[in-house]
């Protein structure tokens, strides 16, 4: 089971009954939570938190009459849904007896009763056997593990109206996107993570450069999407949403089917949703070490982590290098560095093939020598842009290769 916090960040769609989105002239307009909702949200959260130690039934009954009067009727269903998910219950054991055990005892003894149907004498007998004081307590204890009878022991006490509004918005959007079969994302900056996650979820990812700007257009879909609307990829697509706030700019468009009607959902930079946990700055310690050791070269060269992807000429393949090293005065002088630490022979040959195909020869591959076999090494040594390393990449080696390559270029 994933930690609750992770669940919240990655996938937390609205249940269909809480899906507050209207289709207006083909466009889906989600009813976002805004600053206007803060007052009733904080009142609701405050009231909800007061129920710590009480049963969920009490909470439900307390708020049943209040929706639509104090709290916004259409929206508070979703807030309850989230608050309930974020709270934790006790194990339901009352009077020191496990409810399931008590039920087995109770109903089996009732079946042997001569009275038709079984009466309070059975309850008294069970109370005596389990040292429970009264007959009513027997019934209470026998059902105290049912979801509504459990007591709330852990509640989201640090929850504020602002945080709740963000979570509700994320939940709303994920709920709508989970009803789509493909999404289109125009993005700039840190798109690598989105593409990687899409690939990990076995989705098809088409990426192209937008001619008028540096934006990438990423179309994410699944193989079956080709044959019509399907929701099988909905969850995977919705899981990409919290990654988008980490892009510098983004705009997502998705055709979603809500209540039997298709509509277009559009969200862009600035939408109030909480981002996923901060992406790791480096994928490995080797990369982190490389960045630290680069300091002596900072006067003339600039090290850029995860630059925008490079499209291989004449192909539809994108390459995502780990670093870009750019000369500070001559910005056109730039080199890409890819550190390959964990690999398979197939991966390595595919990678070198890709590099060979690139007409610009400014991609430097750093390959871990310890892991490589002699045959592969011999073939790679022929390549001008491969550097071997043991445990850590020597920045000096990379820089001398860069200087060598740049002088070749000027010649």
């Amino acid at each position: 089971m994933l930690p609750q916090s992770l669940l919240l960040c990655n996938y937390y769609p609205t249940a269909p009954q809480h899906c507050n989105g209207q289709i207006v002239k083909w466009e889906i307009v989600p009813q976002y939570f805004t600053e206007r909702d803060y007052p009733w949200l904080s009142q609701l959260i405050e009231e909800y938190l007061r129920f710590k130690g009480q049963t969920r039934r009490r909470v439900v009954e307390h708020f049943r009459g209040k929706t639509g009067t104090i709290f916004e009727k259409k929206k508070c269903g979703l807030v309850f849904h989230l608050l309930h998910r974020m709270s934790e219950d006790d194990n339901g054991i009352k009077q020191g007896v496990k409810p399931s055990k008590l039920r087995a005892q109770l109903f089996e003894e009732a079946a042997t009763s001569v009275l038709r149907p079984a009466s309070s004498s059975v309850l008294s007998s069970i109370a005596r056997q389990n040292k429970i004081e009264s007959v009513t307590e027997v019934l209470e204890a026998a059902f105290s593990d049912l979801p509504l009878e459990r007591r709330l022991v852990k509640m989201p006490e640090s929850m504020t109206s602002q945080k709740m509004a963000l979570l509700c918005n994320l939940s709303l959007i994920q709920g709508i996107v989970s009803r789509s079969s493909q999404v289109e994302i125009k993005a700039f900056g840190s798109v690598r993570r989105v593409i990687r996650q899409a690939k990990l979820r076995k989705l098809l990812c088409q990426v192209e450069n937008q001619r008028s700007s540096d934006n990438l257009i990423i179309r994410v879909s699944g193989p079956l999407s080709l044959f019509g609307h399907t929701q099988i990829y909905g969850r995977s697509l919705a899981e990409l949403i919290p990654l988008l706030p980490w892009c510098e700019l983004f705009k997502l468009s998705a055709i979603c089917r809500i209540r039997g009607r298709d509509g277009l959902l559009q969200i862009k930079t600035g939408v109030s949703i909480p981002p996923a946990s901060e992406p790791k700055q480096f994928d490995s310690t080797t990369e982190a070490q490389f960045a630290i050791n680069f300091n002596p070269y900072m006067a003339d060269w600039e090290l850029i982590r995860e630059p925008e992807p490079i499209c291989l000429k004449g192909t539809n393949t994108l390459v995502f290098p780990d670093f870009m090293i750019r000369h500070r005065r001559n910005q056109k002088l730039k080199f890409f560095v890819e550190i390959i630490g964990f690999w398979t022979p197939e991966y390595l040959s595919r990678k070198t093939e890709q590099v060979k195909k690139m007409e610009i020869s400014n991609m430097i591959l750093c390959v871990d020598e310890v892991l490589i076999c002699e045959d592969s090494k011999a073939s790679l040594e022929l390549s001008n842009t491969v550097i071997f390393y043991k445990r850590k990449v020597k920045v000096a080696d990379v820089m001398s290769k860069i200087i060598q390559l740049s002088s070749n270029r000027f010649e």
Binding site: S100, R103, A104, L106, F107, E108, A110, A111, S113, R116, P117, A118, V122, L123, L139, F143, L146, P147, K202, L204, Q206, R219, S221, G222, P223, L224, L226, F227, T230, Q231, I232, R259, G260, N316
Partner: protein
């Protein structure tokens, strides 16, 4: 030219500008610059390529998980089938090993399916709707099959030559396992065809498909669903109703409809709410005469009046479920059949717990853990408890042997639910005559609902109090 399996689809590659007639189903996929078809069409495509004498490499099964390619033959204990089961298998085989067998509950659908799996000897995926049925199928297979059994669902993730999976787990894993099995058995297959989980069947290459149900969608009332089901599994190849088997392979039964009155107070509330509901529902019927329940909910939720009508209808159902006289009659019936195995079916969980607490009867609901439910059904089988009360969990699939009397306090899911419920008590036993009581509130919507249910299997006996 070659074609291979790719995440629930088939991809054709290596065409090299050859001018050939592509098999039906392939569409150009610009995302990968290849032709693609749904995995469901695998056998049709193969056949077409062979007929057109086109050379091809079939790589569809090259990357599938190893589940014992030698199949499952020789590991099964033989079972004597009933004549109608043998006929059903023959007809299924004649229809290219595709199709749906419709048999009432207790008529041996699982037994039939296991015989088919044994006979074909192919790697098979059995799809079941619930975790309780997952366990039940697992046990049934274990009794007859001596090889390893895979399980997907309820915390298990093993894949073997014979694998049982819940619909939900199969939905999550189908991208990876769509080319693993040659045969699919779909238990309670009436759940498919409405679009929700149909992708499981679309994304599998298995050519042998057997659907099992007691309540197929009728081509009259749900034509689209029936057509889709036919595309995904095959047509209905064999069908028997409860009436066909009553007295021979199913227990004979007496059916009593007990009409009760609402109290004046209940009646007054009922009248107010039903009027609110009727006004909106009638306008829905005018605008959408063939609309189903989902269409009705969509229609109603668009307007304030509609939403009020929905709320009023919920109140109506509550009034009917908790009608005082129903409980008085229930008390009499429980006393009358105190020594017999009794099942009580309710309309909602709240009523289930109410009955449980007041009459000290074990409730079987989704909120009671699976292990406890199984233990209680075992106690029921062994006679340590004689009565169970349930809202929905016992409706479908669960094997509750020896039940003799059913009391139907109310229901929400129409004829299909009713037939499934009655099937629970018709498992045969020497000298058994089952009794069904249906409690209906006079002068309410329950009267028509009851008539429709009865019409579904044309019971010969009607009585009223």
């Amino acid at each position: 030219m070659q074609f291979f399996y790719d995440r629930g689809t088939l991809v054709l590659s290596g065409l090299n500008d050859q001018a050939i007639d592509l098999p039906q189903g392939f569409i150009w996929d610009s995302r990968v610059q290849s032709y693609r078809a749904p995995a469901l069409l695998y056998h049709q495509i193969r056949k077409e390529l062979k007929t057109n004498q086109i050379q091809f490499d079939d790589l569809v099964h090259s990357n599938r998980p190893d589940v014992g390619r030698e199949g499952n033959s020789g590991k099964w204990r033989t079972t004597q089938l009933r004549p109608y089961q043998e006929t059903a298998i023959d007809l299924w085989e004649k229809n290219s090993c595709q199709g749906i067998v419709v048999l009432p509950t207790g008529a041996g659908k699982t037994c039939l399916a296991l015989s088919v799996i044994a006979k074909t000897g192919k790697p098979t995926l059995c799809l079941v709707p619930t975790r309780a049925l997952l366990e039940q199928w697992h046990q049934e297979i274990r009794q007859r099959y001596c090889g390893p059994i895979g399980l997907l669902g309820d915390g298990s993730r093993t894949i073997e030559t014979i694998t049982v999976s819940t619909y939900e787990s199969a939905y999550r894993r189908v991208v990876d396992i769509g080319n693993t099995f040659d045969m699919i058995v779909v238990d309670e297959c009436h759940h498919f065809g409405c679009g929700i989980r149909d992708e499981i069947l679309k994304m599998c290459t298995a050519g042998l498909r057997l659907g099992l149900t007691a309540t197929p969608p009728s081509s009259y009332s749900s034509g689209d669903v029936a057509n889709r089901l036919e595309c995904l599994i095959g047509p209905i190849v064999f069908e028997l109703s409860i009436e066909d088997l009553t007295g021979s392979y199913l227990a004979d039964y007496d059916y009593y409809t007990l009409h009760i009155d609402l109290t004046p107070e209940e009646k007054a509330h009922y009248q107010i709410d039903i009027e609110v509901y009727r006004v909106v529902f009638n306008s829905f019927r005018t605008s959408c005469p063939m609309g189903n329940y989902l269409d009705w909910v969509r229609f109603a939720s668009r307007s304030e009046e509609g939403r009020k009508a929905l709320t009023a209808f919920h109140r109506v159902k509550k009034i009917l479920a908790s009608a005082k006289e129903k409980f008085q009659i229930l008390n009499t019936l429980i006393s009358r059949h105190w020594d017999q195995k009794l099942l009580i079916f309710t309309a909602d969980t709240e009523t289930t717990y109410h009955i449980s607490k007041n009459y000290l009867i074990m409730p079987i609901t989704s909120e009671i853990g699976r292990k406890e439910r199984e233990a209680m059904i075992r106690s029921y089988r062994e006679g340590r408890i004689r009565t169970l009360v349930s809202c929905r969990v016992l409706n479908e699939g669960i094997d509750v042997p020896d039940a003799e009397v059913a009391i139907i306090m109310g229901g929400n899911h129409g004829t299909r639910e009713h037939i499934q419920r009655i099937g629970r008590i018709l498992r045969p036993k020497p000298g058994k005559r089952a009794i069904i009581y249906e409690l209906v509130c006079r002068g309410t919507i329950e009267v028509n609902q009851s008539k429709n249910r009865r019409r579904a299997f044309a019971s010969p006996i009607t009585s009223s109090l």
